[in-house]
């Protein structure tokens, strides 16, 4: 999509430093520019969002009515598994890395990411990883069908797709870890010299913490899938009961990764929302420091609650009580965040452009997902909810109306900065209302299905679930169609439209709004102090940044 920007914009560009490499290979395959790599990540994520979405459509189509209509149960299982893997590792995570690539250097006054060549590598691993993963769909025996959680012994019974799955996960892990190291190096070393940690926009803060989570848990997943691989092909018995192993061990290792992983997918979303709400409420973010601490607290808690995914597996009473209370504790820092967003809007002069609408929907709908999360944290009642559609409803509320809504909000918010054009506000609003109504029709009835006992990951169901499933499927098709509109809006905006100003939004604060729109190929090339008054938290914490500066001088 950004190819067209080059053709359109090169003629208008008067920036001396704006020499983009010529030719497709040099510009995209060999790029080390954080903006180009950010674009690649975002385009890749959008493509994967559509692939994963198509799989979701097949799932909802089969579940439209009870009985088996369209696909074989084995293929249905492949769809549920691949939908999750593609959406988590292909859509949500790369989209956040893309946003980090585009925005973090511009937000902290850095000329580029700290390790640009590694940045190129960490992106270009991804298409290969997903080619490998998606290729299993066309192999004899089909794609992995044992669920994205890859529990043994089921995952080992699925033929040779296990090997492809494991190596694809390895590559995604390597890509994520390299991206995380890059983010940490950029934030720690590349900030403008007068920009202290507490001057940083919240998006930068949440990404810094996310990056640490990634480094801590992606290697653990790599270890777990390696054990799967050796159990399958090299006769080890990590999870094989006949050989003295224990399949439950996998669940512990997996969820030690898996729980921090869900925060990896939501913390950057918190950051995006914390950028957008102050802009359209025209007030600084309420409780900036408490937001930083709340993010760190959520990240810490994520490591000590993993077994709440395993209440039904069985554990001593003390274990159940511990994991129950620890999990419920996460509601405290999350509540701080929700409170601060509401506090930011309180008595603000709000306007409701598309990014703000998506952010408001995020606050409301993510909170619904949070509430069902607190319900599931209760060990005794979780036995009823476990592996039902209640769980499906919960994690889609936090991931679709949470993570995906934040990504869409961020895309609308920063698209004028990336492309130099305003998107069509009218179409944006249609996209918002269409999505928000349909997404609730899609996922809200699933709560009731789950409470009534409909298990997840099944292609057929008992007839008493028919009405809610039909409702959910209709919502699903409508939501899917709305995202095609989103792709159209993005495409139109990149192609042309009303010219965006540098500031773009009246109430926007932050260094990214001080550079022209579209952002030139190189920004902040002269490493030096920035105007802190342009930052939302620049002046408030300037004393702290003075201390930082003195520290730097002492070095």
């Amino acid at each position: 999509m950004s190819q067209d920007i080059t053709h359109d914009e090169v003629a208008h560009d008067h920036h001396d430093h704006d020499h983009k490499p010529k030719g497709f290979v040099k510009r995209w395959l060999m790029t080390t520019n954080h903006k180009d790599i950010g674009t690649l990540y975002l385009v890749f994520a959008l493509a994967m969002f559509m692939v994963g979405g198509a799989m979701a459509m097949i799932i909802r189509l089969e579940l439209f009515q009870p009985g088996l209509q369209f696909v074989e149960p084995a293929f249905f299982n492949q769809m549920t598994t691949m939908h999750a893997l593609v959406m988590i590792f292909g859509a949500v995570m790369p989209a956040f890395v893309g946003l980090a690539n585009w925005m973090i250097p511009m937000m902290i006054g850095a000329p580029d990411m700290a390790l640009p060549r590694m940045n190129n590598w960490s992106f270009w691993i991804l298409p290969f990883a997903f080619t490998m993963l998606l290729a299993t769909l066309f192999m004899p025996g089909g794609a992995p069908a044992g669920g994205w959680t890859m529990y043994p012994p089921l995952v080992l019974q699925g033929g040779h797709n296990v090997g492809f799955l494991v190596f694809a996960v390895h590559m995604m892990g390597i890509s994520s870890i390299m991206g995380a190291i890059n983010v940490i190096a950029t934030i720690m070393n590349m900030r403008a010299p007068n920009l202290g940690y507490l001057n940083m926009p919240l998006f930068v803060w949440t990404w810094l913490i996310t990056a640490f989570l990634l480094i801590a848990v992606m290697p653990v997943l790599a270890g777990a899938v390696t054990m799967i691989l050796t159990d399958r092909y090299f006769d080890t018995s990590f999870f094989n009961a006949a050989g003295g192993g224990d399949p439950v061990l996998f669940q512990h290792i997996f969820w030690f990764f898996g729980h921090p992983e869900v925060y990896i997918m939501i913390l950057p979303a918190f950051g995006i929302i914390s950028e957008i709400i102050p802009t359209f409420a025209r007030k600084p973010l309420f409780g900036y420091v408490s937001m930083v601490y709340a993010t760190a607290a959520i990240a810490f808690l994520s490591f000590i609650v993993w077994a709440h995914h395993m209440f039904s597996v069985g554990m001593p009473l003390g274990g159940s009580l511990y994991f129950m209370y620890a999990t419920m504790m996460i509601a405290v820092p999350t509540g701080v965040k929700i409170f601060n967003w509401v506090g930011t809007m309180w008595r603000g002069s709000m306007t409701f452009e598309t990014p703000m609408l998506f952010s408001l929907a995020f606050v409301v709908l993510f909170t619904i997902g949070g509430f069902s999360g607190v319900m599931m944290a209760l060990a005794p009642v979780d036995l009823q909810y476990h592996d039902t559609y209640f769980i499906v409803a919960h994690f889609h509320y936090v991931l679709v109306t949470g993570a995906v809504y934040a990504i869409i909000a961020g895309a609308y918010y920063w698209l004028p900065k990336w492309s130099g054009h305003m998107y069509n506000e009218r179409l944006g609003k249609i996209h918002f209302w269409w999505s928000t109504i349909s997404v609730n029709v899609l996922f809200f009835p699933q709560h009731f299905l789950g409470l009534a006992g409909m298990p997840r990951r099944i292609p057929d169901y008992s007839t008493q679930f028919a009405e809610f499933n039909m409702m959910s499927s209709i919502g699903g098709f409508a939501f899917g169609l709305a995202q095609v509109l989103f792709v159209y809006i993005v495409w139109k905006t990149v192609r042309g439209g009303e010219k965006a100003t540098a500031q773009v939004w009246e109430g926007a604060k932050g260094l990214e709004w001080t550079v022209p729109s579209p952002a030139p190929h190189h920004t902040f090339s002269e490493f030096g102090p920035v105007d802190l008054s342009k930052l939302a938290n620049g002046e408030k914490f300037s004393i702290l940044s003075d201390i930082d500066e003195k520290d730097d001088k002492q070095k």
Binding site: P219, A242, G314
Partner: protein, 194 residues
């Protein structure tokens, strides 16, 4: 300015090295969870593996509560056998020795060697349950169509918490000939602990 840039490059490389070291450390941590889990399970009985082989020391002491032991047996899908306990449950006094039998039958046309893996639920009861004699200690060969009674002698420790009134002893038989040499070695090692 040039000085600055070199310093930053040095710092970036430092972060890169620390990041890679941290990642490798966490891979190690993932693998360290395997023995760590075994240790935690030995202490807590979390995975339902039964206690170490008990000597037949029977403590004659007054026990004021009994425990119901339920018996369960299944075969892995790779094994063409049937398995069922002779009795489905027993009322036992902790501290006393009891015996029962499982009946296994080979329903295949060929001879098959199987090996049983025991498990106790609830998990926290497993460390109070030990067997003095069990068909699960050795591999079992059944010729085609053969039916065999397999004895197990067990003792429930008098230290078992009062709130555990019912426990289940479950066996799963695996097809030993389907295991590779490496898996058999791992199984043998694991069975020494049972």
């Amino acid at each position: 300015m040039q000085q600055n840039k070199q310093n930053r490059q040095k710092d970036n490389r430092k972060v890169l090295k620390l990041g890679i070291a941290g990642s490798l450390l966490m891979v190690g941590f993932g693998f360290a969870l395997v023995p760590l889990y075994d240790i935690i399970c030995d202490i807590t009985g979390l995975n339902g593996k039964t206690g170490v082989l008990a000597t037949s020391e029977v403590k004659e002491q007054a026990i004021d509560h009994t425990v119901t032991v339920q018996f369960d047996g299944t075969v892995n899908s790779d094994l063409p056998w049937s398995l069922k306990p002779q009795v489905f449950s027993m009322e036992v006094v902790p501290g006393k020795l009891y015996s029962t039998e499982y009946i296994a039958k080979n329903i295949a046309q060929i001879d098959v060697t199987g090996q049983a893996v025991p498990s106790v639920a609830p998990n926290e009861a497993s460390i109070y349950f030990s067997k003095t004699e069990c068909f699960c200690f050795t591999e079992q060969l059944l010729t085609s169509g053969e039916e065999k009674n397999m004895p197990v002698t067990f003792i429930v420790s008098p230290d078992i918490p009062k709130d555990i009134n019912v426990l289940t002893l479950s066996y799963t038989f695996f097809n030993k000939s389907r295991l590779t040499a490496a898996q058999q070695a791992a199984a043998a090692e694991a069975h020494e602990k049972i």
